[in-house]
C-alpha cells in the first residue's frame, strides 16, 4: 500500500447560515480500504460526502484525492476526478422519468464507456448482482418498493466500476438478509475490484461487516477513529453510548428546543 491516502481531508468546515455543520473534519482513507462513518442524525455525514463530491463547497479546509487538491483544481480535472466516484444517495435519487435499466446504465453512457446495447447488458448484470431480475429493468423507479429502489441506486453507483465509492446508508430500509447480501456486494467491490469506499450507516452489524476502519462524527467533528471491529468495545464513551444505543452518556440528545 502506498503512503498517500486515497482521500484526505484537513480542516473541512461548512456552515449553513449560522449553523456550523462541519467543524474542521480531518479524515484519511487509505487506498483499497473502506471507511465506515457513524454519527447521530443531522451530524453532517451526508454533507461531508457531498463536500468531497464537490456538490457542496466547504467554507474552508482541503480535500485531496490521490494527493491532489480537488477544491483548487481546474474545472476539467475536477470533473474527471468526480467521474471516478460512484455515489449511492441516501434517498436513492433515481431519475424517475427513465426506466430502471436506463438509470443503471446512465453513467456508462454519459462517460461513453459503452454503446446502448452493451450498457443494457451491463445494467442487467449489475441488477442481478443486487438481486433484481432483468425484467425489473423495464419498470419505472416509481413502480418499485423502497428497498428495491435502494438496490437499483446501488447498482447505478457501481455500474461503471468507479475507483471510489460512497454509500449513504446502503442498507437502511432493506430486510436483514438483503442487507447482508448488499454488505457482501460492497465488500466485494473493495476486496476484489480494488475500490476505495466510504459508507455511512446506522447499522452496527453492517458497519463491522463492510468497514476496515470506522470513524464517528459528532457535532461536526470526528470524535473517534479506529478499526471497525472495535466499534462495540472502543473504550470511547461517546462511541460506546452510540453503538450500544444507550440513553445516558456523554451525548445529550437535544430533544427539547
Amino acid at each position: 500500500m502506498s503512503d498517500t491516502p486515497k482521500i484526505r481531508l484537513r480542516g473541512v468546515t461548512k456552515r449553513f447560515g449560522d449553523k456550523l455543520v462541519l467543524d474542521g473534519i480531518d479524515l484519511d482513507v487509505a487506498p483499497q480500504t473502506s471507511m465506515v462513518v457513524i454519527g447521530g442524525s443531522g451530524s453532517g455525514k451526508s454533507v461531508l460526502l457531498k463536500c468531497i463530491l464537490g456538490l457542496i463547497a466547504p467554507d474552508s479546509g482541503t480535500i485531496e484525492i490521490d494527493g491532489q487538491d480537488v477544491l483548487r483544481m481546474p474545472h476539467k480535472a475536477r470533473d474527471a476526478a468526480r467521474a471516478r466516484i460512484g455515489m449511492l444517495f441516501q434517498n436513492g435519487a433515481l431519475f424517475d422519468s427513465i426506466s430502471v435499466a436506463e438509470n443503471v446504465a446512465f453513467g456508462l453512457l454519459a462517460q461513453k464507456k459503452a454503446t446502448r446495447a452493451e450498457a443494457r447488458i451491463r445494467a442487467e448484470e449489475v441488477l442481478a448482482q443486487v438481486g433484481l431480475a432483468a425484467s425489473v429493468g423495464d419498470l419505472a423507479p416509481a413502480e418499485l418498493s423502497g428497498g428495491m429502489q435502494k438496490r437499483v441506486a446501488l447498482a447505478r453507483a457501481i455500474a461503471a466500476s468507479p475507483d471510489i465509492l460512497f454509500f449513504d446508508e446502503p442498507t437502511t430500509g432493506l430486510d436483514p438478509i438483503m442487507g447482508a447480501v448488499i454488505d457482501g456486494l460492497i465488500t466485494e467491490q473493495v476486496k476484489r475490484m480494488g475500490s476505495t469506499a466510504i459508507a455511512i450507516t446506522h447499522d452496527m452489524a453492517s458497519a463491522r461487516r463492510i468497514g476496515d476502519r470506522a470513524a464517528m462524527i459528532h457535532k461536526g467533528r470526528i470524535v473517534w477513529e479506529g478499526p471497525a471491529e472495535s466499534l462495540m468495545d472502543s473504550g470511547n464513551p461517546m462511541v460506546d453510548q452510540f453503538t450500544h444505543g444507550r440513553r445516558d452518556g456523554p451525548i445529550q440528545m437535544e430533544l427539547r428546543r
Partner: protein, 261 residues
C-alpha cells in the same frame, strides 16, 4: 428620522436583492443558452420537451385562439357599428390576433401549463438529489435538463402561434359570416388585404421570446427550489407569476421595437 432611514435602507435592500436576482437569472440564461450550442446534445430530452411544450399544448392554445377570434369579431361589431365602419372587422381581427393576442394569450396559456410543470419536475429533481446524482454521473444538469427545454421553448412557441393565428382568424370568420352577415369571400379578402408579412413575423418573434422566458423561468425556479414539497410548490407559483408578468412587460417592449419608428 429613524423611520425615514429605515425606509430608505429597506428600499435599498430591496433594490439590491432585485439586482442580484436579475443577475442570477441572466447568468443562468447565458449558461443554459451556451449549452445549447456545445455538445453533447441530448436529442431525446429535446424531443420530450417539444412534445410537452408544443404538441400537448395544442388543445388549450387552439381553444383559446378560436374563442378569442370569435369574441373579437363580436365585440368589434358592437363597438364599430357606432361609427359605421363594420367593414373593418376582418382586418381588426387578423391584426389583433397575429400581432398581439396569438402570442400573448398563447404564451400565457403555455406559461400556466408548461412553466408550472417544468418547475415542478425540475424542483422535485432538486429536492430529491436527482440533480446532484446527474452531476456524479458525469452529466451536466444545465446541459441535460435546461438547454433542451430552452431550445424547445424557443422553437415550439412560434409553431403554436402559427396554429393560433389560423384558428383565431377562423373564429372571427365564423362569427363574421354566421352572425354578422359578412360574405365569406369578402371577409377573407379583407383579412388578407389587411395582413402584411411583418405582422405575422413580429408575432412569431414575440412567441419565440415568450417561449424562452417561460422555459427559463420554469427551469430557473425549479433548479433553485429547496425544502421539500413546499419549496417545489413555491417554485411552481414563482415560475408562473414571473413568466406571466415578463410576457406582458416584454410584449410592450417588443411592440415598441417593432412598430414605433
Amino acid at each position: 428620522m429613524n423611520t425615514l432611514l429605515n425606509a430608505v435602507a429597506a428600499l435599498g435592500r430591496g433594490a439590491l436583492s432585485a439586482c442580484e436576482a436579475t443577475g442570477r437569472v441572466t447568468l443562468f440564461a447565458v449558461l443554459g443558452l451556451s449549452h445549447i450550442l456545445r455538445p453533447p446534445f441530448y436529442g431525446r430530452a429535446f424531443g420530450r420537451a417539444m412534445l410537452e411544450i408544443g404538441y400537448l399544448s395544442l388543445p388549450v392554445v387552439a381553444l383559446t385562439a378560436v374563442f378569442t377570434g370569435m369574441v373579437l369579431a363580436l365585440q368589434s361589431s358592437t363597438g364599430l357599428s357606432r361609427f359605421a365602419v363594420e367593414s373593418a372587422i376582418p382586418s381588426l381581427v387578423v391584426l389583433s390576433i397575429t400581432r398581439e393576442l396569438g402570442p400573448v394569450l398563447g404564451g400565457l396559456m403555455v406559461a400556466g401549463r408548461v412553466g408550472a410543470a417544468m418547475a415542478a419536475e425540475i424542483g422535485t429533481m432538486r429536492v430529491t438529489d436527482q440533480i446532484d446524482a446527474l452531476t456524479t454521473l458525469s452529466t451536466n444538469p444545465l446541459k441535460y435538463l435546461v438547454a433542451p427545454r430552452l431550445l424547445a421553448g424557443i422553437i415550439a412557441l412560434p409553431l403554436l402561434v402559427v396554429v393560433a393565428d389560423i384558428l383565431g382568424v377562423m373564429g372571427g370568420f365564423i362569427i363574421g359570416v354566421a352572425k354578422l352577415g359578412f360574405n365569406p369571400y369578402i371577409y377573407l379578402q379583407n383579412t388578407f388585404n389587411a395582413l402584411y408579412a411583418e405582422d405575422v413575423i413580429s408575432g412569431l418573434v414575440k412567441a419565440s421570446v415568450f417561449g424562452f422566458v417561460i422555459t427559463l423561468m420554469g427551469c430557473y425556479h425549479g433548479y433553485h427550489s429547496r425544502g421539500g414539497a413546499q419549496g417545489v410548490g413555491a417554485a411552481t407559483t414563482a415560475a408562473v407569476v414571473t413568466s406571466s408578468v415578463l410576457i406582458l412587460a416584454l410584449d410592450y417592449v417588443l411592440t415598441e421595437l417593432f412598430f414605433t419608428k
